[in-house]
Amino acid sequence: MSLRLQAQNLACERDDRWLFRGLDLDIRAGEIVRVEGPNGSGKTTLLKILSGQLADYEGELFWDERPMREARDAFLSNLLYMGHAPGIKAALTPLENLTWYQAMAGQSQDEASRYAALEDVGLAGFEDLPAGQLSAGQQRRVALARLVLTPRPLWVLDEPFTAIDRDGVAALEQRLFAHARRGGCVLVTTHHELTPCAELRRIRLGGGGLDAGN
């Protein structure tokens, strides 16, 4: 078992427009891959394809050197995906939100770990407030608590820095680098400029995908 996500000759056509084509990717443990490109260049679509949400693509995907169609369940149990929307229920408290995520991840229901995860993202004292009463940045932090709560090797994060304050951004950046150093892998889109480091790799999309590649 090793962390390896490959894409061969990946192409995506949306309503007669090629978002990208001929994209080859090989993402391994210990990497932070930042997907870059102007608005509408297919960053989110690429992340959705690479996280197994969109089946509407050409080319082949491999997880752990097995075709994605066969390895889908194994892949999903190693994946943590966060989209544009944080996936937090406003009527539930942060603790209740995390309870659901913990159950969906097939983990034992452990309240102490949920408290610890919330404290880790700076939400100590907000555990029992309905999430709807928290600020947008705090709601995003509740979602980010999943990174601590449900350990998964592959993180796919679509604009995770949205609405987070400066301290939070620094902490999250640290968290991403730490995850890569521990042998995890991060696939991320962001407008925030990440501190350059050895683990960071860039993929550029844009211009109808004709210059796609890395």
Partner: protein, 246 residues
């Protein structure tokens, strides 16, 4: 190279997971419980279909005639049609909130069969819409001078039938959740598919009034429910995957 203080404990290497082993029951119950809690915190959403049901039933004597004999003759059909519309009313919100706040895509990405998790959501819809409507129907039956002896059958047929309605309706809700104005379209898609349930549901109450075999109707309602239980979750799952791509 240890990071900042909070990260020290996380320096252990990441662990990999093989094929997911079980956990489906846990995920099913967690989803069921979460949706129940959510709906019970927004009680007006649970009450609205019931109030709608009562208001629609009030309209008929006003629009037609207060004559008890006339009302009694059409009461089974009226009660069933009004309950059916009330159940339809709340369907649009079944997946809408999850779609808007992003938890729907998280639901799609759990390593569990989506059809089963969708079934948990539909179960909640039935528990908080279909079942209360069924329990409330005999009360409104009294107001429509429904003949004695058919009240139990009315409640049972509605409880059984509304489960099918929730399942079939959820397909429509899943297909239209990505559309900004899905409400009317949802009714257009779903109502024709409701007709068999309506026929046997209202038929069961009629049969009870005339003293015919009620069991045949209820058995067919049960068969329709069994069929819907097998097929609808698959269609709902497929539809949700389409909508999330929209």
């Amino acid at each position: 190279m240890p990071g900042t203080e909070g990260l020290l404990s996380e320096e252990a290497p990441v662990t990999f997971h093989g094929e997911p082993g079980g956990g489906l029951a846990v995920a099913f119950w967690a989803t069921l419980k979460r949706d129940l809690v959510l709906l019970l915190r927004r009680r007006s959403e649970v009450m609205n279909p019931l109030v709608f049901f009562a208001i629609v039933i009030t309209l008929f004597p006003i629009g037609i005639s207060p004559d008890p004999q006339l009302l009694a003759a059409i009461a089974p059909g009226l009660l069933w049609v009004a309950a059916l519309l009330a159940a339809l009313l709340s369907l649009d919100s079944l997946f809408r909130a999850d779609y808007d706040d992003g938890s729907l895509e998280q639901l799609l990405l759990t390593p569990q069969p989506l059809a089963v998790l969708a079934l948990a959501k539909v179960t909640v819809h039935w528990l908080l819409t279909g079942l209360p409507l069924a329990l409330m129907a005999p009360l409104l039956g009294i107001m429509l001078a429904l003949p004695a002896g058919s009240y139990g059958v009315l409640a049972i047929s509605l409880a059984l039938g509304s489960a099918s309605l929730s399942l079939i309706g959820a397909i429509g809700a899943a297909l239209t959740v990505g559309l900004s104005r899905g409400g009317v379209l949802l009714s257009l898609l779903v109502l024709p598919l409701y007709i068999p349930v309506l026929i046997f549901g209202a038929g069961a109450v009629q049969a009870a009034i005339f003293g015919d075999g009620v069991m045949a109707h209820l058995a067919i309602l049960g068969a329709l429910l069994a069929l819907a239980l097998i097929l609808a979750p698959l269609a709902i799952a497929a539809s949700l995957r389409i909508s999330i791509n929209g």
